[in-house]
Protein backbone atom coordinates (compact mmCIF):
# COMPACT_ATOMS: atom_id res chain seq x y z
CA UNK A 1 0.00 0.00 0.00
CA UNK A 2 1.37 3.41 -0.89
CA UNK A 3 2.21 5.76 1.93
CA UNK A 4 1.91 9.36 0.93
CA UNK A 5 2.30 12.60 2.76
CA UNK A 6 -0.98 14.26 3.56
CA UNK A 7 -0.41 17.74 4.80
CA UNK A 8 -1.97 17.36 8.24
CA UNK A 9 -0.97 20.50 10.04
CA UNK A 10 -1.22 21.01 13.79
CA UNK A 11 -2.08 24.73 13.57
CA UNK A 12 -4.76 24.08 11.02
CA UNK A 13 -6.39 21.44 13.18
CA UNK A 14 -6.27 23.52 16.31
CA UNK A 15 -7.69 26.54 14.58
CA UNK A 16 -10.61 24.46 13.43
CA UNK A 17 -11.14 23.26 16.97
CA UNK A 18 -10.59 19.59 16.20
CA UNK A 19 -9.11 18.96 19.63
CA UNK A 20 -12.19 19.95 21.63
CA UNK A 21 -14.23 17.11 23.03
CA UNK A 22 -17.54 16.99 24.78
CA UNK A 23 -18.05 17.80 28.44
CA UNK A 24 -16.29 15.67 31.01
CA UNK A 25 -19.46 14.07 32.23
CA UNK A 26 -20.52 12.82 28.84
CA UNK A 27 -17.45 10.81 27.96
CA UNK A 28 -17.20 7.18 26.98
CA UNK A 29 -14.44 5.51 29.02
CA UNK A 30 -13.39 3.53 25.96
CA UNK A 31 -12.07 6.78 24.55
CA UNK A 32 -9.50 6.99 27.31
CA UNK A 33 -6.46 6.23 25.09
CA UNK A 34 -7.38 9.07 22.76
CA UNK A 35 -7.96 11.75 25.36
CA UNK A 36 -4.95 13.79 26.37
CA UNK A 37 -6.20 16.32 28.91
CA UNK A 38 -9.14 17.88 30.64
CA UNK A 39 -9.60 21.62 30.45
CA UNK A 40 -12.41 23.80 31.72
CA UNK A 41 -14.72 20.85 32.03
CA UNK A 42 -14.23 19.45 28.54
CA UNK A 43 -11.94 16.72 27.29
CA UNK A 44 -9.18 17.43 24.84
CA UNK A 45 -8.43 14.75 22.26
CA UNK A 46 -4.85 13.90 21.51
CA UNK A 47 -4.20 15.37 18.12
CA UNK A 48 -1.22 13.13 17.47
CA UNK A 49 -3.56 10.14 17.41
CA UNK A 50 -5.99 12.07 15.25
CA UNK A 51 -3.27 12.89 12.79
CA UNK A 52 -2.09 9.31 12.71
CA UNK A 53 -5.53 7.87 12.08
CA UNK A 54 -6.34 10.55 9.58
CA UNK A 55 -3.23 9.92 7.54
CA UNK A 56 -3.89 6.21 7.66
CA UNK A 57 -7.48 6.73 6.58
CA UNK A 58 -6.35 8.97 3.73
CA UNK A 59 -3.94 6.29 2.55
CA UNK A 60 -6.62 3.64 2.61
CA UNK A 61 -9.08 5.81 0.83
CA UNK A 62 -6.52 6.78 -1.81
CA UNK A 63 -5.76 3.14 -2.42
CA UNK A 64 -9.37 2.17 -2.67
CA UNK A 65 -10.14 5.04 -5.01
CA UNK A 66 -7.24 4.13 -7.26
CA UNK A 67 -8.77 0.69 -7.55
CA UNK A 68 -12.11 2.13 -8.51
CA UNK A 69 -14.12 1.51 -5.38
CA UNK A 70 -17.36 3.32 -4.52
CA UNK A 71 -17.67 5.58 -1.49
CA UNK A 72 -20.60 6.78 0.54
CA UNK A 73 -20.47 9.75 2.91
CA UNK A 74 -23.14 9.83 5.58
CA UNK A 75 -23.73 13.05 7.54
CA UNK A 76 -27.23 13.97 8.62
CA UNK A 77 -26.51 16.69 11.18
CA UNK A 78 -28.40 19.79 10.19
CA UNK A 79 -25.31 21.93 10.51
CA UNK A 80 -23.18 19.67 8.40
CA UNK A 81 -25.72 18.80 5.72
CA UNK A 82 -24.54 21.30 3.12
CA UNK A 83 -20.95 20.50 3.82
CA UNK A 84 -21.42 16.80 3.24
CA UNK A 85 -23.25 17.39 -0.01
CA UNK A 86 -20.63 19.74 -1.40
CA UNK A 87 -17.73 17.53 -0.32
CA UNK A 88 -19.28 14.45 -1.88
CA UNK A 89 -20.05 16.21 -5.13
CA UNK A 90 -16.47 17.42 -5.29
CA UNK A 91 -15.16 13.90 -4.80
CA UNK A 92 -17.85 12.39 -7.00
CA UNK A 93 -19.03 9.99 -4.33
CA UNK A 94 -22.49 9.22 -3.07
CA UNK A 95 -23.82 10.88 0.05
CA UNK A 96 -26.70 10.87 2.46
CA UNK A 97 -27.29 14.21 4.09
CA UNK A 98 -30.90 14.00 5.07
CA UNK A 99 -32.18 11.29 7.33
CA UNK A 100 -30.63 7.86 6.85
CA UNK A 101 -33.68 5.74 6.16
CA UNK A 102 -33.65 2.51 8.13
CA UNK A 103 -32.58 -0.39 5.99
CA UNK A 104 -31.07 1.75 3.26
CA UNK A 105 -28.24 -0.74 2.85
CA UNK A 106 -29.53 -3.88 4.52
CA UNK A 107 -32.78 -3.60 2.60
CA UNK A 108 -30.99 -2.61 -0.54
CA UNK A 109 -33.50 -4.26 -2.87
CA UNK A 110 -36.29 -1.97 -1.67
CA UNK A 111 -34.04 1.07 -1.83
CA UNK A 112 -33.17 0.10 -5.36
CA UNK A 113 -36.85 0.03 -6.28
CA UNK A 114 -37.22 3.53 -4.92
CA UNK A 115 -34.21 4.64 -6.88
CA UNK A 116 -35.72 3.25 -10.07
CA UNK A 117 -38.93 5.11 -9.37
CA UNK A 118 -36.93 8.26 -8.73
CA UNK A 119 -35.10 7.83 -11.99
CA UNK A 120 -38.31 7.28 -13.91
CA UNK A 121 -39.93 10.32 -12.33
CA UNK A 122 -36.99 12.45 -13.24
CA UNK A 123 -37.10 11.24 -16.81
CA UNK A 124 -40.79 12.02 -16.99
CA UNK A 125 -40.28 15.46 -15.63
CA UNK A 126 -37.52 16.15 -18.10
CA UNK A 127 -39.69 14.93 -20.97
CA UNK A 128 -42.43 17.24 -19.77
CA UNK A 129 -45.03 14.54 -19.44
CA UNK A 130 -45.98 15.75 -15.99
CA UNK A 131 -47.54 18.87 -17.40
CA UNK A 132 -49.98 16.91 -19.52
CA UNK A 133 -51.51 15.16 -16.54
CA UNK A 134 -54.43 16.59 -14.60
CA UNK A 135 -53.34 19.13 -12.00
CA UNK A 136 -53.90 16.93 -8.95
CA UNK A 137 -51.90 14.01 -10.28
CA UNK A 138 -49.15 16.30 -11.40
CA UNK A 139 -49.02 17.89 -7.96
CA UNK A 140 -48.84 14.49 -6.29
CA UNK A 141 -46.05 13.33 -8.53
CA UNK A 142 -44.12 16.53 -8.06
CA UNK A 143 -44.42 16.13 -4.31
CA UNK A 144 -43.14 12.58 -4.54
CA UNK A 145 -40.30 13.76 -6.69
CA UNK A 146 -39.25 16.42 -4.21
CA UNK A 147 -39.47 13.91 -1.38
CA UNK A 148 -37.28 11.44 -3.21
CA UNK A 149 -34.89 14.17 -4.21
CA UNK A 150 -34.45 15.20 -0.60
CA UNK A 151 -33.81 11.75 0.82
CA UNK A 152 -32.25 9.86 -2.06
CA UNK A 153 -30.74 12.73 -3.97
CA UNK A 154 -27.25 11.82 -2.94
CA UNK A 155 -27.41 8.17 -3.89
CA UNK A 156 -29.34 8.48 -7.10
CA UNK A 157 -26.43 7.14 -9.15
CA UNK A 158 -25.63 4.25 -6.83
CA UNK A 159 -25.93 0.85 -8.49
CA UNK A 160 -24.90 -1.43 -5.68
CA UNK A 161 -23.76 -1.31 -2.11
CA UNK A 162 -20.80 1.02 -1.52
CA UNK A 163 -17.37 -0.34 -0.77
CA UNK A 164 -16.34 2.15 1.88
CA UNK A 165 -18.59 4.27 4.05
CA UNK A 166 -17.46 7.49 5.75
CA UNK A 167 -19.62 8.55 8.67
CA UNK A 168 -19.49 12.01 10.16
CA UNK A 169 -21.07 11.67 13.59
CA UNK A 170 -21.31 8.34 15.28
CA UNK A 171 -24.02 9.25 17.77
CA UNK A 172 -26.22 10.66 15.07
CA UNK A 173 -25.67 7.91 12.48
CA UNK A 174 -25.73 4.94 14.77
CA UNK A 175 -28.21 3.10 12.51
CA UNK A 176 -26.06 3.58 9.47
CA UNK A 177 -23.01 2.32 11.31
CA UNK A 178 -24.74 -0.76 12.54
CA UNK A 179 -26.07 -1.57 9.08
CA UNK A 180 -22.57 -1.35 7.66
CA UNK A 181 -21.23 -3.59 10.36
CA UNK A 182 -23.90 -6.24 9.70
CA UNK A 183 -23.09 -6.16 6.02
CA UNK A 184 -19.36 -6.19 6.56
CA UNK A 185 -18.69 -2.90 4.81
CA UNK A 186 -15.52 -1.23 6.08
CA UNK A 187 -16.23 2.12 7.71
CA UNK A 188 -14.32 5.26 8.60
CA UNK A 189 -15.95 7.25 11.36
CA UNK A 190 -15.39 10.55 13.16
CA UNK A 191 -15.35 9.82 16.85
CA UNK A 192 -15.93 12.30 19.64
CA UNK A 193 -15.24 11.78 23.33
CA UNK A 194 -18.68 10.38 23.91
CA UNK A 195 -18.54 7.72 21.19
CA UNK A 196 -17.40 4.13 21.00
CA UNK A 197 -14.16 3.70 19.05
CA UNK A 198 -14.51 -0.03 18.52
CA UNK A 199 -17.58 0.02 16.35
CA UNK A 200 -16.07 1.40 13.19
CA UNK A 201 -13.01 0.06 11.46
CA UNK A 202 -11.01 3.24 11.40
CA UNK A 203 -12.18 5.74 13.97
CA UNK A 204 -10.72 9.23 13.79
CA UNK A 205 -10.98 10.97 17.15
CA UNK A 206 -12.05 14.54 16.39
CA UNK A 207 -14.63 17.16 17.20
CA UNK A 208 -17.88 16.33 15.49
CA UNK A 209 -19.78 19.43 16.59
CA UNK A 210 -17.83 22.31 15.12
CA UNK A 211 -18.39 22.81 11.45
CA UNK A 212 -14.78 23.81 10.85
CA UNK A 213 -13.46 20.54 12.20
CA UNK A 214 -15.84 18.43 10.12
CA UNK A 215 -14.90 20.50 7.12
CA UNK A 216 -11.21 19.93 7.69
CA UNK A 217 -11.42 16.16 8.07
CA UNK A 218 -13.78 15.78 5.15
CA UNK A 219 -11.59 17.93 2.97
CA UNK A 220 -8.57 15.77 3.68
CA UNK A 221 -10.43 12.58 2.91
CA UNK A 222 -12.01 14.05 -0.17
CA UNK A 223 -8.71 15.24 -1.56
CA UNK A 224 -7.34 11.75 -1.03
CA UNK A 225 -10.29 10.29 -2.92
CA UNK A 226 -9.82 12.76 -5.75
CA UNK A 227 -6.17 11.92 -6.10
CA UNK A 228 -6.89 8.23 -6.04
CA UNK A 229 -9.54 8.64 -8.70
CA UNK A 230 -7.26 10.62 -10.94
CA UNK A 231 -4.58 7.97 -10.66
CA UNK A 232 -7.23 5.31 -11.42
CA UNK A 233 -8.20 7.15 -14.55
CA UNK A 234 -4.59 7.54 -15.56
CA UNK A 235 -3.71 3.92 -15.05
CA UNK A 236 -6.81 2.45 -16.66
Amino acid sequence: MTRRYWNINLEEMMEAGVHFGHGTRKWNPRMAPYISAKRKGIHITNLTRTARFLSEACDLVFDAASRGKQFLIVGTKKKAADLVASAAIRARCHYVNKKWLGGMSTNWSTTEMRLHKFRDLRAEQKAGRLNRLPKRDAAMLKRQLSHLQAYLGGIQYMTGLPDIVIIVDQQEEYTALRECVTLGIPTICLIDTNCDPDLADISIPANDDAIASIRLILNKLVSAICEGRSSYIRNR
Binding site: I8, E15, L183, G184, P186, D198
Partner: protein, 406 residues
Protein backbone atom coordinates in the same frame (compact mmCIF):
# COMPACT_ATOMS: atom_id res chain seq x y z
CA UNK B 1 -25.78 -3.56 24.34
CA UNK B 2 -27.55 -6.57 25.82
CA UNK B 3 -30.44 -6.13 23.43
CA UNK B 4 -28.08 -6.64 20.51
CA UNK B 5 -27.03 -9.99 21.87
CA UNK B 6 -30.65 -11.02 22.12
CA UNK B 7 -31.31 -10.01 18.56
CA UNK B 8 -28.45 -12.01 17.19
CA UNK B 9 -29.33 -15.02 19.29
CA UNK B 10 -32.41 -15.39 17.15
CA UNK B 11 -30.40 -16.05 13.98
CA UNK B 12 -30.42 -19.53 12.56
CA UNK B 13 -26.79 -19.65 11.47
CA UNK B 14 -24.29 -19.88 14.24
CA UNK B 15 -21.94 -16.95 14.53
CA UNK B 16 -18.81 -17.48 12.52
CA UNK B 17 -15.71 -17.25 14.55
CA UNK B 18 -14.28 -14.35 12.68
CA UNK B 19 -10.79 -13.11 13.04
CA UNK B 20 -12.08 -10.40 15.33
CA UNK B 21 -12.51 -12.75 18.27
CA UNK B 22 -8.98 -13.96 18.17
CA UNK B 23 -7.51 -10.53 18.52
CA UNK B 24 -5.80 -10.39 21.89
CA UNK B 25 -5.30 -6.70 22.42
CA UNK B 26 -8.55 -4.81 22.83
CA UNK B 27 -11.25 -6.33 24.99
CA UNK B 28 -14.31 -6.18 22.76
CA UNK B 29 -16.88 -8.23 24.62
CA UNK B 30 -19.82 -6.87 22.69
CA UNK B 31 -18.33 -7.93 19.35
CA UNK B 32 -18.95 -11.60 20.05
CA UNK B 33 -22.57 -10.80 19.34
CA UNK B 34 -21.68 -8.81 16.21
CA UNK B 35 -21.28 -11.48 13.56
CA UNK B 36 -20.08 -9.27 10.73
CA UNK B 37 -20.62 -11.38 7.70
CA UNK B 38 -23.43 -13.66 8.78
CA UNK B 39 -26.30 -12.14 6.88
CA UNK B 40 -24.14 -11.09 3.98
CA UNK B 41 -23.01 -14.64 3.22
CA UNK B 42 -26.32 -15.48 1.74
CA UNK B 43 -26.30 -12.55 -0.70
CA UNK B 44 -23.27 -12.89 -2.91
CA UNK B 45 -20.00 -14.59 -2.31
CA UNK B 46 -17.82 -12.62 -4.64
CA UNK B 47 -18.88 -9.35 -3.13
CA UNK B 48 -18.46 -10.59 0.37
CA UNK B 49 -15.00 -11.82 -0.36
CA UNK B 50 -14.08 -8.43 -1.75
CA UNK B 51 -15.39 -6.79 1.30
CA UNK B 52 -13.59 -9.19 3.55
CA UNK B 53 -10.36 -8.39 1.80
CA UNK B 54 -10.95 -4.69 2.18
CA UNK B 55 -11.83 -5.16 5.79
CA UNK B 56 -8.63 -7.01 6.38
CA UNK B 57 -6.67 -4.16 4.87
CA UNK B 58 -8.42 -1.82 7.24
CA UNK B 59 -7.63 -4.03 10.17
CA UNK B 60 -3.99 -4.05 9.25
CA UNK B 61 -4.04 -0.30 9.02
CA UNK B 62 -5.53 -0.07 12.45
CA UNK B 63 -2.88 -2.40 13.79
CA UNK B 64 -0.24 -0.25 12.26
CA UNK B 65 -1.70 2.80 13.89
CA UNK B 66 -1.50 1.10 17.21
CA UNK B 67 2.00 -0.20 16.90
CA UNK B 68 3.62 2.80 15.21
CA UNK B 69 1.74 5.73 16.60
CA UNK B 70 4.03 8.47 15.38
CA UNK B 71 4.48 7.40 11.82
CA UNK B 72 3.45 10.03 9.32
CA UNK B 73 2.65 12.57 11.99
CA UNK B 74 4.51 15.82 11.56
CA UNK B 75 4.35 17.07 15.14
CA UNK B 76 4.87 15.64 18.60
CA UNK B 77 2.81 15.50 21.74
CA UNK B 78 4.89 18.27 23.27
CA UNK B 79 4.14 20.61 20.38
CA UNK B 80 0.51 19.83 20.78
CA UNK B 81 0.48 20.52 24.50
CA UNK B 82 2.38 23.72 24.03
CA UNK B 83 -0.03 24.94 21.41
CA UNK B 84 -3.07 24.13 23.52
CA UNK B 85 -2.99 27.42 25.34
CA UNK B 86 -2.84 29.40 22.16
CA UNK B 87 -6.11 28.10 20.84
CA UNK B 88 -8.13 28.17 23.97
CA UNK B 89 -11.50 29.85 23.73
CA UNK B 90 -13.39 31.69 26.37
CA UNK B 91 -17.01 30.81 26.55
CA UNK B 92 -18.10 33.00 29.42
CA UNK B 93 -21.39 34.81 29.08
CA UNK B 94 -20.69 38.35 28.00
CA UNK B 95 -17.51 37.80 26.04
CA UNK B 96 -17.16 39.00 22.51
CA UNK B 97 -16.20 36.49 19.84
CA UNK B 98 -15.51 36.84 16.19
CA UNK B 99 -17.27 34.35 13.99
CA UNK B 100 -18.33 33.55 10.45
CA UNK B 101 -21.90 32.89 9.48
CA UNK B 102 -22.22 29.73 7.43
CA UNK B 103 -25.89 28.78 7.38
CA UNK B 104 -29.08 30.77 7.75
CA UNK B 105 -32.47 29.50 8.66
CA UNK B 106 -35.93 30.80 9.43
CA UNK B 107 -35.14 30.84 13.12
CA UNK B 108 -31.70 32.32 13.02
CA UNK B 109 -28.20 31.79 11.79
CA UNK B 110 -25.43 29.32 12.57
CA UNK B 111 -22.09 30.91 13.27
CA UNK B 112 -18.77 29.16 13.23
CA UNK B 113 -16.52 30.12 16.12
CA UNK B 114 -13.38 28.41 17.38
CA UNK B 115 -15.10 26.45 20.06
CA UNK B 116 -16.43 23.03 20.80
CA UNK B 117 -19.46 23.55 18.65
CA UNK B 118 -20.97 26.09 16.32
CA UNK B 119 -23.03 28.84 17.85
CA UNK B 120 -26.52 29.96 17.08
CA UNK B 121 -27.80 33.48 16.56
CA UNK B 122 -31.57 33.62 17.04
CA UNK B 123 -33.51 36.00 14.85
CA UNK B 124 -34.78 37.97 17.85
CA UNK B 125 -31.25 38.74 18.90
CA UNK B 126 -29.95 39.76 15.53
CA UNK B 127 -31.19 43.32 15.56
CA UNK B 128 -32.72 45.92 17.81
CA UNK B 129 -35.66 46.50 15.49
CA UNK B 130 -38.06 43.66 15.09
CA UNK B 131 -37.30 41.65 11.98
CA UNK B 132 -38.74 38.47 10.54
CA UNK B 133 -35.66 36.95 8.95
CA UNK B 134 -31.99 37.37 9.66
CA UNK B 135 -31.38 38.48 6.11
CA UNK B 136 -33.07 41.78 6.82
CA UNK B 137 -30.38 42.55 9.35
CA UNK B 138 -27.75 41.87 6.75
CA UNK B 139 -26.63 38.47 7.96
CA UNK B 140 -25.65 36.33 5.02
CA UNK B 141 -23.47 33.24 4.85
CA UNK B 142 -19.86 34.29 4.80
CA UNK B 143 -20.28 37.36 6.97
CA UNK B 144 -17.51 37.75 9.50
CA UNK B 145 -18.53 39.76 12.54
CA UNK B 146 -18.24 40.18 16.27
CA UNK B 147 -20.93 38.72 18.44
CA UNK B 148 -21.47 38.58 22.16
CA UNK B 149 -22.27 35.37 24.02
CA UNK B 150 -25.48 35.53 25.94
CA UNK B 151 -26.15 31.96 26.80
CA UNK B 152 -25.45 28.30 26.33
CA UNK B 153 -27.64 25.59 24.91
CA UNK B 154 -27.28 22.61 27.22
CA UNK B 155 -28.50 19.99 24.78
CA UNK B 156 -25.78 20.24 22.19
CA UNK B 157 -23.15 22.40 23.87
CA UNK B 158 -23.72 25.20 21.44
CA UNK B 159 -23.55 28.83 22.43
CA UNK B 160 -26.24 31.41 21.91
CA UNK B 161 -25.02 34.66 20.46
CA UNK B 162 -26.45 38.09 20.14
CA UNK B 163 -25.82 41.19 18.12
CA UNK B 164 -28.41 43.14 19.97
CA UNK B 165 -26.34 43.90 23.05
CA UNK B 166 -23.57 45.40 20.98
CA UNK B 167 -26.04 47.47 19.04
CA UNK B 168 -27.70 48.65 22.22
CA UNK B 169 -24.38 49.85 23.59
CA UNK B 170 -23.72 51.76 20.40
CA UNK B 171 -27.19 53.28 20.44
CA UNK B 172 -26.82 54.48 24.03
CA UNK B 173 -23.43 55.96 23.18
CA UNK B 174 -24.91 57.84 20.25
CA UNK B 175 -27.75 59.14 22.39
CA UNK B 176 -25.29 60.41 24.96
CA UNK B 177 -23.34 62.21 22.27
CA UNK B 178 -26.46 63.73 20.81
CA UNK B 179 -27.53 64.90 24.19
CA UNK B 180 -24.24 66.60 24.84
CA UNK B 181 -24.48 68.31 21.47
CA UNK B 182 -28.06 69.26 22.21
CA UNK B 183 -29.42 68.52 18.78
CA UNK B 184 -33.00 68.06 17.74
CA UNK B 185 -33.79 64.64 16.32
CA UNK B 186 -36.90 63.17 14.83
CA UNK B 187 -38.54 60.24 16.52
CA UNK B 188 -41.53 58.14 15.55
CA UNK B 189 -44.27 57.60 18.09
CA UNK B 190 -45.07 53.94 18.49
CA UNK B 191 -47.25 53.76 21.53
CA UNK B 192 -48.70 55.52 24.49
CA UNK B 193 -49.46 54.93 28.09
CA UNK B 194 -50.97 56.74 31.00
CA UNK B 195 -48.27 59.30 31.43
CA UNK B 196 -47.17 60.00 27.89
CA UNK B 197 -46.10 58.47 24.61
CA UNK B 198 -43.27 56.18 23.57
CA UNK B 199 -41.12 57.24 20.67
CA UNK B 200 -38.34 55.34 18.96
CA UNK B 201 -35.05 57.15 18.65
CA UNK B 202 -31.85 55.51 17.34
CA UNK B 203 -33.47 52.15 17.79
CA UNK B 204 -34.11 52.79 21.48
CA UNK B 205 -37.50 53.40 23.00
CA UNK B 206 -37.78 56.70 24.78
CA UNK B 207 -40.56 58.14 26.88
CA UNK B 208 -42.13 61.53 26.23
CA UNK B 209 -44.38 62.64 29.07
CA UNK B 210 -47.59 64.40 28.14
CA UNK B 211 -46.34 67.52 29.83
CA UNK B 212 -43.50 67.61 27.37
CA UNK B 213 -45.61 67.22 24.29
CA UNK B 214 -46.37 70.55 22.75
CA UNK B 215 -49.54 69.86 20.86
CA UNK B 216 -52.77 69.27 22.65
CA UNK B 217 -53.47 65.80 21.35
CA UNK B 218 -53.97 62.44 22.94
CA UNK B 219 -51.72 59.45 22.48
CA UNK B 220 -53.87 57.94 19.74
CA UNK B 221 -53.66 61.01 17.59
CA UNK B 222 -49.92 61.14 17.90
CA UNK B 223 -49.40 57.51 16.97
CA UNK B 224 -47.16 56.92 13.96
CA UNK B 225 -46.21 60.55 13.70
CA UNK B 226 -42.71 61.91 13.63
CA UNK B 227 -42.05 64.54 16.22
CA UNK B 228 -38.95 66.64 16.71
CA UNK B 229 -37.48 65.67 20.04
CA UNK B 230 -34.67 66.66 22.31
CA UNK B 231 -32.99 64.56 24.97
CA UNK B 232 -33.91 65.29 28.54
CA UNK B 233 -32.44 62.31 30.29
CA UNK B 234 -30.13 59.60 29.00
CA UNK B 235 -29.30 57.07 31.68
CA UNK B 236 -28.08 53.70 30.50
CA UNK B 237 -27.83 51.92 33.86
CA UNK B 238 -31.44 52.57 34.69
CA UNK B 239 -32.50 52.26 31.07
CA UNK B 240 -34.14 55.65 31.22
CA UNK B 241 -34.48 57.66 28.07
CA UNK B 242 -36.72 60.69 28.43
CA UNK B 243 -37.34 63.02 25.54
CA UNK B 244 -39.14 66.27 25.14
CA UNK B 245 -41.05 67.68 22.24
CA UNK B 246 -41.56 70.97 23.99
CA UNK B 247 -37.90 71.74 24.24
CA UNK B 248 -37.38 71.00 20.59
CA UNK B 249 -40.22 73.28 19.59
CA UNK B 250 -38.99 75.97 21.94
CA UNK B 251 -35.75 76.06 20.06
CA UNK B 252 -37.47 76.54 16.80
CA UNK B 253 -39.55 79.36 18.06
CA UNK B 254 -37.11 81.46 19.92
CA UNK B 255 -38.10 84.57 18.09
CA UNK B 256 -40.86 85.67 20.38
CA UNK B 257 -40.47 89.35 20.75
CA UNK B 258 -40.70 91.12 24.00
CA UNK B 259 -43.92 93.00 24.23
CA UNK B 260 -45.85 90.87 21.81
CA UNK B 261 -49.25 89.52 22.64
CA UNK B 262 -49.85 85.82 22.26
CA UNK B 263 -52.68 83.48 22.99
CA UNK B 264 -52.04 80.78 25.45
CA UNK B 265 -53.71 78.04 27.44
CA UNK B 266 -53.44 77.65 31.16
CA UNK B 267 -51.48 74.48 31.89
CA UNK B 268 -51.39 74.38 35.63
CA UNK B 269 -51.98 76.58 38.64
CA UNK B 270 -49.47 77.14 41.37
CA UNK B 271 -49.73 79.26 44.51
CA UNK B 272 -47.40 81.83 43.00
CA UNK B 273 -48.91 81.98 39.52
CA UNK B 274 -50.03 80.02 36.53
CA UNK B 275 -48.12 78.22 33.81
CA UNK B 276 -49.41 79.22 30.42
CA UNK B 277 -48.50 77.27 27.34
CA UNK B 278 -47.76 79.58 24.47
CA UNK B 279 -46.84 77.91 21.19
CA UNK B 280 -44.66 75.25 22.75
CA UNK B 281 -43.07 77.01 25.66
CA UNK B 282 -44.39 77.27 29.14
CA UNK B 283 -44.43 80.77 30.46
CA UNK B 284 -45.09 81.86 34.01
CA UNK B 285 -47.85 84.35 34.68
CA UNK B 286 -46.98 85.52 38.17
CA UNK B 287 -49.84 86.23 40.51
CA UNK B 288 -48.78 89.82 40.81
CA UNK B 289 -48.79 90.26 37.07
CA UNK B 290 -52.37 89.19 36.51
CA UNK B 291 -54.06 92.41 37.50
CA UNK B 292 -53.46 95.74 39.14
CA UNK B 293 -55.78 94.76 41.90
CA UNK B 294 -54.56 92.26 44.34
CA UNK B 295 -55.49 88.69 43.41
CA UNK B 296 -55.53 86.48 46.42
CA UNK B 297 -56.62 83.20 44.87
CA UNK B 298 -55.71 82.30 41.33
CA UNK B 299 -58.48 79.83 40.83
CA UNK B 300 -61.05 82.66 40.97
CA UNK B 301 -59.55 84.25 37.89
CA UNK B 302 -58.06 81.39 35.93
CA UNK B 303 -58.75 77.72 35.53
CA UNK B 304 -56.57 75.08 33.83
CA UNK B 305 -57.59 74.91 30.19
CA UNK B 306 -58.61 78.56 29.89
CA UNK B 307 -57.39 80.40 26.84
CA UNK B 308 -56.26 83.92 27.30
CA UNK B 309 -54.08 86.55 25.76
CA UNK B 310 -50.89 87.41 27.52
CA UNK B 311 -48.03 89.72 26.86
CA UNK B 312 -44.44 88.61 26.99
CA UNK B 313 -42.39 90.52 29.48
CA UNK B 314 -39.07 88.82 29.10
CA UNK B 315 -37.59 85.74 27.50
CA UNK B 316 -34.73 83.95 29.12
CA UNK B 317 -33.43 81.72 26.35
CA UNK B 318 -30.84 79.79 28.32
CA UNK B 319 -33.19 78.64 31.00
CA UNK B 320 -36.16 78.49 28.66
CA UNK B 321 -38.16 80.80 30.91
CA UNK B 322 -40.67 83.28 29.70
CA UNK B 323 -42.30 85.80 31.95
CA UNK B 324 -45.82 86.82 31.05
CA UNK B 325 -48.22 89.46 32.14
CA UNK B 326 -51.85 90.39 31.72
CA UNK B 327 -51.59 93.41 33.97
CA UNK B 328 -50.36 95.59 31.21
CA UNK B 329 -53.27 94.66 29.03
CA UNK B 330 -55.95 95.95 31.34
CA UNK B 331 -57.63 99.12 30.07
CA UNK B 332 -58.64 99.96 33.59
CA UNK B 333 -56.93 98.45 36.57
CA UNK B 334 -58.75 95.51 38.02
CA UNK B 335 -60.38 94.46 34.79
CA UNK B 336 -58.83 91.02 34.77
CA UNK B 337 -60.74 90.03 37.79
CA UNK B 338 -63.98 91.63 36.89
CA UNK B 339 -64.19 91.31 33.18
CA UNK B 340 -61.62 89.08 31.52
CA UNK B 341 -63.22 89.16 28.09
CA UNK B 342 -62.88 92.92 27.90
CA UNK B 343 -59.22 92.56 28.66
CA UNK B 344 -58.78 90.12 25.83
CA UNK B 345 -60.53 92.25 23.32
CA UNK B 346 -58.58 95.25 24.25
CA UNK B 347 -55.42 93.21 24.49
CA UNK B 348 -54.01 94.23 21.13
CA UNK B 349 -54.71 97.91 21.69
CA UNK B 350 -53.24 97.85 25.10
CA UNK B 351 -50.13 96.13 23.87
CA UNK B 352 -49.65 98.74 21.19
CA UNK B 353 -50.10 101.58 23.61
CA UNK B 354 -47.73 99.87 25.96
CA UNK B 355 -45.10 99.61 23.31
CA UNK B 356 -45.49 103.22 22.31
CA UNK B 357 -45.19 104.30 25.88
CA UNK B 358 -42.07 102.19 26.25
CA UNK B 359 -40.58 103.68 23.10
CA UNK B 360 -41.33 107.21 24.23
CA UNK B 361 -39.84 106.57 27.60
CA UNK B 362 -36.72 105.24 25.99
CA UNK B 363 -36.50 108.23 23.69
CA UNK B 364 -36.76 110.61 26.60
CA UNK B 365 -34.05 108.78 28.41
CA UNK B 366 -31.73 108.95 25.43
CA UNK B 367 -32.46 112.66 24.87
CA UNK B 368 -31.55 113.34 28.43
CA UNK B 369 -28.33 111.48 27.98
CA UNK B 370 -27.51 113.48 24.92
CA UNK B 371 -28.20 116.80 26.63
CA UNK B 372 -25.91 116.01 29.47
CA UNK B 373 -23.13 114.54 27.41
CA UNK B 374 -23.02 116.26 24.03
CA UNK B 375 -19.38 115.46 23.40
CA UNK B 376 -20.01 111.78 23.29
CA UNK B 377 -20.63 112.18 19.57
CA UNK B 378 -23.99 110.60 19.62
CA UNK B 379 -27.07 111.96 18.03
CA UNK B 380 -30.70 111.26 17.80
CA UNK B 381 -32.06 110.29 14.42
CA UNK B 382 -35.68 110.52 13.38
CA UNK B 383 -36.60 107.18 14.88
CA UNK B 384 -35.43 108.28 18.25
CA UNK B 385 -32.57 105.85 18.20
CA UNK B 386 -29.18 106.90 19.34
CA UNK B 387 -26.54 106.46 16.70
CA UNK B 388 -23.14 107.71 15.82
CA UNK B 389 -22.53 110.71 13.48
CA UNK B 390 -21.13 108.79 10.58
CA UNK B 391 -24.28 106.78 10.17
CA UNK B 392 -26.27 109.90 9.18
CA UNK B 393 -23.92 110.92 6.42
CA UNK B 394 -22.40 107.78 5.05
CA UNK B 395 -20.50 109.57 2.22
CA UNK B 396 -18.38 111.54 4.63
CA UNK B 397 -14.85 110.28 5.18
CA UNK B 398 -14.52 108.44 8.42
CA UNK B 399 -11.68 110.54 9.79
CA UNK B 400 -13.11 113.98 9.31
CA UNK B 401 -15.98 114.84 11.52
CA UNK B 402 -18.30 117.31 9.97
CA UNK B 403 -20.26 119.04 12.61
CA UNK B 404 -22.45 120.67 10.07
CA UNK B 405 -24.70 117.67 9.97
CA UNK B 406 -25.69 118.06 13.60
Amino acid sequence: MASLAQQFAGLRCPPLSSSRLSKPFSPRPQNTAFSPVVSAVAISNAQTRERQRLKEIFEDAYERCRTAPMEGVSFTVEDFNAALDKYDFDSEIGTKVKGTVFYIDGNGALVDITAKSSAFLPVQEACIHRIKHVEEAGIVPGLREEFVIIGENEADDSLILSLRSIQYDLAWERCRQLQSEDVVIKGKVVGGNKGGVVAVVEGLRGFVPFSQVSSKSTAEELLDRELPLKFVEVDEEQSRLVLSNRKAMADSQAQLGIGSVVTGTVQSLKPYGAFIDIGGINGLLHISQISHDRVSDISTVLQPGDTLKVMILSHDRERGRVSLSTKKLEPTPGDMIRNPELVFEKAEEMARTFRQRIAQAEAMARADMLRFQPESGLTLNTDGVLGSLTQLTPDLPVEGLDLSAV
